[in-house]
């Protein structure tokens, strides 16, 4: 824009009530001005930007790779593996139990299997051997990882839902409602979670044992249900606090005022304007919730309060292996390593997500 042009505009600005039309403003744009409007680079969306950062983070991408491998294998391997996690190999209907299948070391075979091999047949190897009840240990570890991962995932979903709803209502409504709701959160927050979880799983286990007997939840086991209930009761408070803090600052923004002025309902403002703007915080804390849920589940399983037998979880496998640790140490090491790897990569991935998606971290 030329200097002369600018001068005129300034003059006009100084006389706001003048009806003088500035003719220059209506001239067709010059080539130079048009060039300024051309996009040099496409604008980057929030997601694209975040994923590009994540992609560049080597540690986080390694974790994504490790986790993807584990997740794909826990889904596919049980489908194609010739043994089942609760299949006792030494037990055949109508025959005496074959003790040669119990406590096999890795790549050893039971008696009948050795017979087949001698006859020239092939038997699928027991990569990690078998456990005391003659069950293929590899498939039990894989299935245990599947149980642990799904507990972590679903527990985080529960936490996410309850925490988001509670936190956004508390932050949005504000005032006395907020005060009361946050006092409740404070009290739940200060409960020692592990102890309450242990207590509740003891109790809920007893309560649900009979009620669940013939329902679809029976295979899940009363302990699993109580773990989810406990998560729903206790663990959402951290998430609720976080979301409330976000909503408190976001609701003062102009776009919320604008939405309200055109008559948007409260629910719509929360859903369409506030939560999407808090999405980075929500993603990050959900991602970090998964390892803590896996931790809790394995802890409970280790104490004998987790998933019910014969279903394995990494914690219960480690717990069962502890009894025979002097002879079969690898049975303890394998699930322990698995759980450490899963938790470690989830933690590091969570850190990576924070670096990638947290708007405050952008340099």
């Amino acid at each position: 824009m030329s200097d002369k042009n600018l001068d005129k505009k300034v003059k006009l600005f100084n006389k706001p009530f003048s009806f003088h039309v500035n003719v220059d403003s209506f001239l067709p744009a010059t080539e130079e001005e048009k060039k300024q409007q051309v996009l040099m680079r496409e604008s980057v969306s929030f997601w694209k930007d975040g994923f590009r950062r994540l992609w560049r983070n080597k540690v986080a991408m390694t974790c994504v790779f490790v986790l993807a491998t584990i997740i794909i294998s826990v889904i596919i391997i049980p489908m194609v593996w010739p043994y089942d996690y609760d299949e006792q190999l030494g037990v055949v209907q109508g025959q005496a139990v074959d003790p040669s299948y119990s406590n096999l070391r890795p790549f050893e075979y039971g008696e009948t299997e050795l017979g087949i091999i001698e006859d020239g047949g092939s038997v699928f190897p027991h990569i990690f051997g078998t456990d005391a009840a003659g069950r293929d240990y590899f498939i039990r570890v894989i299935f245990g990882a599947r149980v642990s991962l799904s507990v972590g995932f679903f527990a985080s979903i529960i936490v996410l839902l309850i925490g988001t709803i509670y936190g956004s209502i508390s932050g949005y409504v504000g005032g006395k409602t907020d005060l009361i709701m946050m006092r409740v959160v404070d009290i739940i927050y200060s409960l020692p979670d592990m102890l309450v979880i242990i207590l509740l799983s003891v109790v809920l286990n007893q309560v649900f044992k009979d009620a669940l007997a013939n329902t679809i939840f029976a295979s899940l086991g009363a302990n699993m249900i109580s773990i989810f209930i406990v998560f729903g009761l206790l663990y959402w408070v951290g998430m609720a606090r976080l979301i409330r803090g976000q909503i408190l600052s976001l609701k003062e923004q102009d776009y919320v005022l604008a939405a309200r002025s055109i008559g948007a309902s409260h629910g719509r403002i929360i859903k369409k304007h506030l939560l999407p703007n808090a999405i980075s915080v929500i993603i990050i804390s959900t991602a970090l919730q998964i390892p803590s849920a896996i931790f809790t589940e394995s802890f409970l399983s280790f104490l004998g309060l987790g998933v019910s037998a014969p279903m394995p979880s990494l914690g219960s496998l480690a717990s069962a292996a502890l009894a025979g640790v002097f002879s079969y140490a690898y049975r303890l090491v394998i699930p322990a390593l698995f759980i450490s790897f899963i938790v470690l990569s989830l933690n590091l991935l969570g850190d990576g997500l924070r670096d990638a998606f947290d708007p405050k971290m952008k340099a």
């Binding site: 109790v203 480690a318 640790v325 938790v343």
Partner: protein, 308 residues
């Protein structure tokens, strides 16, 4: 100490009292929700015997009266008799077990604080050098390991392969491994905490001023930097006690330590309800009180904190 601070402290104490009351209430009603009642166990007993037992333990009274009785009993540190260990009261089992677990916990906490602060400061001072990277990688690994994994590995290495320490907590030297198992995670956590807060402090202007004044290196690190860097560590004191108390459940199971954790676990498997209730309330109260202390200490130590 101003009035704002007083009101904060009073509010915090009230919150703690409500929390403890809530824990007792949850425990009480949770136990009542268990179907069958405590005497409906393995052996078939006649109706008269059940009635007599119910009357003896006050279980025939209306539930609210049982609740108030229980509350007043607890205020007198009376947790009732154990159902499975005949002739023993719950409070005796708790104090006996806590004598062992408490010793274990205090030693572990002491080790964690000392080593954590040392490692953290060393890492921060030698930022991005080999020693810092080593410390950070190993602490990241330890933070990702559940307590039972750490305990199991220690058991494997020292008792199964090297056979240099006993695996049983009753034997002499048997408490070494449980202490290490309990201390590893808090040590790693405190190291990370100290490192990040130390890095933060070392960039402050007053450190540059002190350096410019010609303050000696050790005085700079210990008096100017470390003293301020340790404030965030105080906030971890409460969670650390909580971790050590719950972690002791697992560690005492692994190493067969005759402590409160083992008593708690066996009370769960035996369904000794008064013992479960007593131990839960005892441990939870400990955790809540420690949180209160560390919170208050934090606010007192750091004058910058705003009281809301």
């Amino acid at each position: 100490m101003n009035s704002k601070m007083m009101s904060y402290i009073i509010k915090r104490i009230l919150l703690t009292i409500v929390t403890i009351w809530l824990i007792i209430t949850i425990t009480f009603f949770a136990m009542k929700a268990i179907p069958g009642g405590p005497f409906l166990s393995e052996k078939a007993v006649t109706q008269e015997v059940t009635d007599a037992l119910n009357e003896k333990y006050g279980l025939d009274k209306p539930i609210f009266e049982q609740y108030t009785t229980y509350l007043t009993d607890i205020l007198h540190f009376d947790f009732g008799p154990s159902l499975k260990s005949r002739g023993r009261v719950v409070i005796d089992i708790i104090t006996e077990g806590f004598a062992v677990s408490g010793k274990l916990g205090i030693i572990a906490a002491g080790i964690a604080l000392t080593l954590g602060i040392i490692f953290g400061s060393v890492a921060a001072i030698h930022r991005n050098k080999l020693i810092d990277n080593t410390i950070m990688v190993s602490t990241t690994a330890f933070v990702a390991m559940p307590s039972f994994v750490i305990g199991s590995f220690l058991l494997l290495v020292f008792c199964v392969y090297w056979k240099i320490l006993p695996a049983n907590g009753d034997l002499p030297g048997g408490l070494i491994l449980p202490v290490i198992a309990l201390a590893l995670y808090p040590t790693a956590y405190i190291t990370r905490l100290t490192r990040s807060s130390m890095l933060d402090v070392l960039q402050q202007d007053y450190i540059r001023t002190a350096k410019a004044k010609g303050v000696s290196y050790y005085l700079l690190i210990f008096k100017h930097a470390l003293k301020n860097a340790l404030i965030p560590v105080i906030t971890y004191a409460g969670p650390m006690i909580a971790y050590i108390l719950t972690g002791s459940l697992v560690v005492e199971k692994i190493f067969a330590v005759p402590g409160l954790g083992r008593a708690f676990i066996s009370s769960i498997t035996n369904r000794d309800y008064p013992l479960i209730m007593g131990t839960t309330i005892f441990l939870a109260t400990m955790v809540v009180l420690m949180n209160l202390v560390s919170d208050l200490l934090y606010k007192v130590v750091d004058p910058r904190i705003d009281f809301k």
